[in-house]
Symmetry: C2
Subunit: 198 residues, 2 copies
C-alpha cells in the first residue's frame, strides 16, 4: 500500500484540505482503532501545517484522540463514498465491529502507530496541540501535522492533479446523505506584480 504513496512537503501539506473537503479522522488507543468522517475541519496555519477539527466529545474517535494525543486526518474521494457515509452513520460506541462492517482497510506507516485508511488522496499524521489556550468550551481539536503523504494519482508535487478521473475527486458533505464532488479547476488571470493582500 505505502509503495504507491509519496511524501508531501510540509510547507504544502495544508493544500490537501485548503479547498474544504470532508475528511476522515482515525485514531487508536490500547489496541482499539476507529475512524469517523468530519466535515468541520480546516487549516489553522502552515509551515508547519496545523489543522483545526471539530470532533464531538460523545464519539469513540474523540475518546481515542484525547487518550493518545494523535490522529490521522485523511482526504477520501468519490470512490469511497459508501465507506465515508457508513463510517458517519454507525457508531463504535454501539457497534464495536463498525470498522469490519464498514469494510474499511487500514494500514500503518513506518514510525507512526496510527491507523491510516487505504485509498484516500492524502494523509496527515497529526499531534494534538495542548496549548494553555485550548478552547475547552467547544469540541475543537487543534493539531500540528507531523508528516503527510499523498497518492500521486490525485495530489503530487504539492498540487492537486487536475486531470484525475471522476472517482478520484474529493467529497464535500452537504447534509444527510448528500455530498458534492469537487468540480473543475479555475485559474485566475493575475497580473504578474500582484502579491498577497487582505
Amino acid at each position: 500500500m505505502s509503495g504507491t504513496l509519496a511524501p508531501v512537503d510540509p510547507a504544502r501539506a495544508h493544500r490537501l484540505i485548503n479547498h474544504g473537503p470532508t475528511v476522515l479522522i482515525s485514531s487508536t488507543h490500547s489496541g482499539v482503532d476507529n475512524v469517523m468522517p468530519a466535515a468541520w475541519a480546516t487549516v489553522l496555519d502552515m509551515a508547519p501545517a496545523k489543522v483545526v477539527v471539530v470532533i464531538d466529545r460523545a464519539t469513540k474517535t474523540r475518546e481515542l484522540v484525547d487518550a493518545s494525543g494523535r490522529f490521522v486526518l485523511q482526504v477520501p474521494v468519490v470512490a469511497q463514498l459508501a465507506l465515508v457515509d457508513f463510517l458517519g452513520m454507525h457508531s463504535a460506541q454501539d457497534e464495536p465491529d463498525k470498522l469490519d462492517r464498514a469494510g474499511a482497510t487500514l494500514f500503518r506507516m513506518p514510525g507512526h502507530d496510527l491507523p491510516f485508511v487505504a485509498d484516500c488522496a492524502g494523509w496527515m499524521a497529526c499531534r494534538v496541540l495542548t496549548e494553555p489556550s485550548k478552547p475547552e468550551t467547544y469540541d475543537l481539536v487543534l493539531a500540528e501535522v507531523e508528516a503527510a503523504w499523498s497518492d500521486p494519482r490525485m495530489f503530487r508535487d504539492g498540487r492537486w492533479v487536475t486531470d484525475a478521473p471522476p472517482d478520484y475527486r474529493t467529497l464535500h458533505h452537504v447534509s444527510g446523505g448528500r455530498y458534492f464532488a469537487i468540480g473543475e479547476t479555475i485559474d485566475v488571470d493575475r497580473s504578474p506584480d500582484e502579491g498577497p493582500g487582505n
Copy 2:
C-alpha cells in the same frame, strides 16, 4: 438587492458552508468597511450555528472584527472569481481604496450595521464569541450566527439548489490563483433504518 434574498432557518444556516467553500469576511468600524477572502473557515456548531474562522491579525479586516465584534461571513460564487481573488491579493493596510478598486458592491441589511457583499449565494451575520477559553495563541475567531440569508437561486428551503447554472457554483481555493468550482451532487443510497453515528 435585499428583495431577492430569503432568510435561512437558523437550524440550517451551517449548511451554507458545510461543504467547505472559500468565504468572504466583511466588517466595519468607525465608518471603515473592508472585505477579505478566507479559505480557512468551518462550522463549529449548529442550532444555533457557530463558525470558526482563521483571520490573520495583520489584516485590516481582523482589526475591524476585533474592534466591532461583528462580521459577515458570505459565500461567493464562480461569477465573482475576479472579485474574490482581487480582495485576497490587495490589502486595505496599503491601499485604503481597495474596495473601490475591487469593484465590490456592498449593501446593508435592516437591523445589521455590517457591509454585505452583493451577489453571493448566502450571508451570515456573525457575533464574535468572547469566551474565557478563546484561543488567543492562534488567529482563530469563534462566532455565533445571529441571522442568515440566501439567494434562492442558489440556496433555498435550507438546501443548495442542485440545478444552478455554472456561474452560481461555490469557489474552493486551492493555492495561488487556482480555485476549484464545486461539482455535482451525489446522493448516498441509505437504508431507511440508519441514523447518525461516529
